[in-house]
Amino acid sequence: MIQENVVKVGMADLKIAAGGAILKTTGLGSCVGLTLFDESTKVAGMIHVMLPSSEIAREASINIAKYADTSVPHLIELMRTEGAEPRRFVAKMAGGAQMFAFNTGSETMRIGPRNVEACKLMLQRFNIPLLSEDTGLNYGRTVEFNSMNGILTIRSVQQGVKEI
């Protein structure tokens, strides 16, 4: 029997895994599931990003896993301490949907696309190539990232399963 080790990543949370363990986060709506991977050491990391920028934070002690701008540097550091080499990192991401369509121009309602933009900005800043993405549109996603082969599996109610 093949024992698959699944590491659950909660909402506004980040985790790392290595050597074949699976990183999983469920029910991504406007949130973004961002993964980083170092192929040669098989070290992988996943963030469940809820908000684009910690500048809008009004909490006394911020949860750095929640915001794109604070979580990405933190994950890079965590993976480095596990022996991964940031120069080799590649990224994938899914989520950032617009769950409900409204005609209001409200920025809050556009939170999904803004999360995606913020994640891409951070990847650019750290020179991490984005290999593939399944973002936007209007449906929820559950994602699993395999730290053995770097495949991101995306499941949704309407669209079934796909791998990127």
Binding site: L28, I56, E59, F102, T108, G140, V157
Partner: protein
Amino acid sequence: MNPLNKLAAFKLDVLKEVGNIGAGNAATALSRLLDKPVDMNVPTVSLIPFEQVADKVGGFEQVVIAVFLRVEGDAPGNMFFIIDEDSAKRLLRNLLSMDVQDEGYSEMEYSALGEIGNILAGSYLSSLADFTHLYLSPTVPAIAVDMAGAILSYGLVHYGEMGDSALLIDTTFLEGQEELAGHFFLIPDPESFDKIFSALGVPNE
């Protein structure tokens, strides 16, 4: 720390009453639509960690039907009317004398569910507005059939800026033997609580 953590017990009771009045009127509206009695439970008001919000409706990946409205006006917030798929199908069979397929939803069914959500949310909000004398105006409802986590997280963004939990007024209603079960979630924006309390004459500490 999230300032809402410190809400006094009597303030929670006030919010329970808000849920009671709103959902009570919505249950009456649903009962008229169905021409059947509809019961509801005493509302629960609690500060719930984001991770656990979806547990109320069966977990993050549970597929639910949700009608979402943004409440605008004096005390803005988000409102969800959530039912499971079986309940949605039963509701449609009861209300529309038409064949309802077991899988998927037609345009007509979507539209009917949106309208039901609209009527119920409208009666919830208008009774709340009467009670508080606050101006509350719902946006046009949007409907989605998807994972509960993906849907509900959308209503939590305002809380995300200040913590990892949200204050939720939850009322469950049930329709007799058919066991139609649904939830009303009212998630006022964090800033709206002071307005609701002062409109109801609750003193500020």
